[in-house]
């Protein structure tokens, strides 16, 4: 108790002293990414007018307390809280948006963002769930190439956010997550604060964030903001977490002339060593059938251009695993749709930022007792360039099965591509060039055959109701192909039809998937990607899985509220269809009840009216469409809404996959 009493007294003393000190301070947000001194007395640029005191009575009480300090004389206003300085640090780091569901463990920071920081850079995006907030940051990054800031409430908020953080971790996406916390037990104002407090708040997510910190001082906090940003943005990208205790936020900014926001300096991504790059180039140039497999190889638009340059120089086959937009879908050297054949023919396979190299060169089969068989021919040389080797976590097993390559280069693929291209070009001879051209012509013919075959397959079930996913994809393509479009949902759940039929050739045309296959990513990630696309004027489109949307439909409201233009086309197969198949598989294997796989896996009786759900959130929503003939006019109507700057949803009743 003695300790408790002392702490309380100390706090009062601190507040008194700090109030006096802080009275001389005011607010100047830091906007440049350079070292800056402590804020000077002036109103922040672009800030709203200073708020009036809480009340005249409060003013009177504050004056009385200052004149007559006593047991009840704690100050009741704070002119310039520590959270203002935190906002300076976040602004200096360059965050464009802050996605958050509010919580009082970061209430002072919240208030500083919207008033001291003028709700600009970052702008507060109101989210209805922490999972949506992180999911939006996930999708935003894959378009914009910059992390978003996410603030989550103490304990409860971080638990809500954890699933989406895991997806971002598995997808190697940076997100800076701030965890509110009532760190000092003596300053918890209610029993609720206790339930929202933890000794080690980041412990829950430590297995799937790259780095976390709980700064004890404001100077430490500013430095940790910069370190967090830098660590998150060094390949392999991953989420990071900063614990932000309420005392640090809410107590007045101390009079400390040494308090500074440091400059943000980013690490250069690691390149492969010259010897390994040279060896890779020699093997690729000497190969008869080299295959380049890319997953998250293109971190940026420059990566896509580099991929094209390498592949065209070699006239090599490419298999795009589509973790990012690595290679144009209609490029004649794109062999993704005949990937198994290409792997079987290969004598050199170069894997670039692969999630699962083992799964590329081996096939799994069997249900209860899975086995694998090799897909490659004897003597094939395997080369890996992968930043994942630079940083692994132990607990969660997303690192996949071990694959022994002939040459494993722990480096960032995109950063290594320029030197690899240069090394390849130096090794070219006229003979090899002629051979490459012949190879390229054969690959182009194979690409054309598969493309035509896919079109033939798409015609099957063309007029079916529910609507086939091929028809759905073709109808969307017909509406958007002449626009500056961006497709921001995972194609896997619609049998990859967009990737099989559309012409993807720009970096923002595709952003990959969840990473961790956590259901609930799709809706918020597409809204986040649309948020990033908004200022570029792109037509953002998603094919939205019904089960995924039901994990967090509140993100529709966020899209409507913040006027985020996004065309959402429902893939409404009225089931968690992957699980329908999984339960069906078990019933088949167990030889019983094979008609009962829909129990616990389907979303019928009643069927969910997603159009009305969208309307209830204040956005355009169509009636259910099961006749393919009704699809085109519904899409046209919705696109007109999106072009006006609003989100719109078209509810399409679809085939399973």
């Amino acid at each position: 108790m003695a300790k408790s009493k002392k702490t309380s007294v100390d706090r009062r003393s601190f507040l008194k002293n700090a109030t006096v000190g802080a009275a001389a301070l005011a607010a100047t947000p830091v906007t440049a990414a350079t070292a800056v001194p402590i804020p000077q007395p002036s109103r922040p640029r672009n800030a709203a007018a200073p708020l009036p005191p809480v009340s005249r009575r409060a003013e009177a009480e504050a004056a009385a307390a200052a004149a007559n300090p006593g047991p009840n004389s704690d100050p009741i206003t704070v002119d310039h809280p520590g959270s203002d300085f935190m906002v300076d640090a976040f602004k200096a780091a360059g965050f464009e948006y802050l996605c958050s569901n509010p919580g009082n463990s970061f209430r002072s920071l919240h208030e500083s963002f919207i008033n001291y920081g003028a709700n600009k850079n970052p702008e507060f995006i109101t989210c209805c769930h922490e999972e949506s907030a992180v999911g939006m940051a996930h999708g935003y990054f894959k378009i914009e190439g910059k992390p978003l800031l996410v603030c989550v409430h103490g304990t409860v908020g971080v638990q809500h956010a954890s699933m989406a953080i895991y997806d971002a971790f598995c997808d190697r996406v940076p997100v800076v997550v701030v965890l509110g916390n009532f760190g000092d037990a003596q300053t918890r104002a209610s029993f609720v604060n206790w339930t929202h407090s933890a000794q080690d708040p980041a412990e829950l997510i430590r297995d799937f964030v790259k780095w976390d910190d709980q700064p004890a001082t404001l100077q430490g906090f500013a430095e940790s903001v910069m370190r967090a940003y830098r660590v998150a943005m060094t390949p392999p990208y991953m989420p990071v977490a900063l614990v932000c205790n309420t005392d640090l936020q809410e107590f007045p900014l101390p009079s400390n002339p040494a308090l500074r926001v440091p400059a943000l300096t980013l690490d250069r991504p690691p390149q492969g060593d010259s010897g390994s790059v040279q060896q890779t180039a020699q093997w690729l140039v000497a190969a008869e059938n080299p295959v380049i497999v890319a997953d998250r190889a293109a971190r940026t638009p420059a990566g896509l251009a580099l991929m094209i340059e390498l592949v065209e120089t070699l006239q090599a086959a490419v298999i795009d695993r589509n973790g990012r937009m690595n290679f144009p879908t209609r490029h004649p050297l794109n062999q993704t749709e005949r990937g198994g054949s290409a792997i079987g023919e290969a004598d050199v396979i170069l894997g670039l930022e692969l999630t699962d190299f083992y799964g590329i060169v081996n096939a799994y089969y069997g249900d209860v007792y899975p086995r694998t068989r090799s897909l490659t021919k004897p003597g094939v040389k395997l080369i890996s360039i992968n930043s994942n080797d630079l940083y692994l976590k132990s607990n969660y097993q997303d690192f996949q099965r071990y694959q022994a390559e002939n040459l494993a280069i722990a480096a960032d693929a995109e950063a290594t591509l320029p030197s690899l291209i240069e090394a390849v070009k130096k090794l070219l001879t006229d003979d090899r060039k002629r051979m490459f051209q012949d190879r390229g012509a054969k690959l182009a013919a194979a690409h054309q055959r598969i493309f035509a075959q896919n079109r033939d397959l798409a015609a099957n079930g063309w007029d079916a109701s529910p609507i086939s996913t091929a028809r759905l994809s073709a109808e969307i393509w017909n509406q958007i192909r002449n626009e500056d479009w961006s497709f921001v949902s995972n194609c896997q759940f619609v049998s990859r039809w967009p990737l099989r039929l559309w012409d993807f050739n720009k970096y923002y045309h595709y952003i990959g998937g969840e990473g961790g296959y956590g259901v609930g990513y799709g809706a918020p990630a597409s809204v986040g990607a649309a948020l990033a696309n908004r200022k570029h004027g792109r037509l953002t489109v998603s094919i939205q899985n019904d089960g995924d949307l039901m994990f967090g439909p509140g993100v529709l409201w966020t899209a409507a509220h913040h006027r985020i233009p996004l065309l959402i086309v429902m893939h409404n197969n009225r089931a968690y269809h992957q699980e329908v198949m999984e339960v069906q598989r078990m019933a088949d294997v167990h030889e019983r009840g094979i008609t009962r796989a829909g129990i616990g896996t389907t979303l019928v009786d009643p069927a969910i009216d997603y159009g009305k759900l969208a309307q209830s959130m204040g956005m355009h929503g169509s009636a259910p469409i099961a006749d393919p003939g009704d699809l085109a006019p519904a899409l046209r109507e919705a696109i007109a809404v999106v072009k006006s700057g609003e989100p719109a949803l078209v509810n399409v009743v679809t085939q399973p996959r």
Partner: protein, 158 residues
């Protein structure tokens, strides 16, 4: 990587199977029954009226069509209730699994494959799906209309 669905890759030589035996039994029983019906009908007609050959043929065809229609209807129902549609699509157009119809692979191959799949398809044993069920599902697959040609669909040519 996702390979395009390709029914050709599942094609293999057919061989004698329990399903073939089932059909043989059906054929023998049907022949006996048909013969009895024909004899009875002939006797009756000899008594009452001498029918034309055309009328006899029409009656036989109608009976066959009715039987086929029942098989197709039952197969269509089973295609859904047994979960075939989950991987192959409600129109058998393909999805996670390959396209199955129209113009399906030989029944003998399908019967062999579903009993002992070698790729990712789960097994459907005789305990859960009878030979008759399979025959009816097959009849449904055969009955599916030909889809339009891709070259005739403008949306697939852009």
């Amino acid at each position: 990587m996702s390979k395009p669905v390709n029914a050709q890759s599942f094609r293999s030589p057919g061989r004698s199977s329990p399903e073939d035996a089932f059909h043989a039994e059906v054929l023998v029983l049907s022949a006996i029954l048909a013969l009895a019906v024909v004899i009875a009908a002939a006797l009756a007609l000899l008594i009452f009226v001498r029918p034309s050959a055309a009328a006899q043929s029409a009656a036989s065809a109608a009976k066959s069509q009715s039987s086929d229609a029942a098989s197709i209807a039952r197969g269509k129902k089973l295609f859904v209730s047994y979960g075939c549609y989950e991987c192959h699509g409600r129109a058998a157009q393909g999805g996670v699994g390959p396209r199955l119809g129209p113009d399906p692979l030989p029944l003998s191959f399908i019967e062999k494959y579903v009993r002992h799949p070698t790729a990712s398809m789960p097994p459907y044993t005789e305990k859960t799906v009878s030979d008759r069920d399979l025959a009816d599902i097959y009849a449904y697959l055969k009955s599916l209309p030909e889809p339009p040609k891709a070259k005739d669909i403008p949306l697939l040519n852009q």
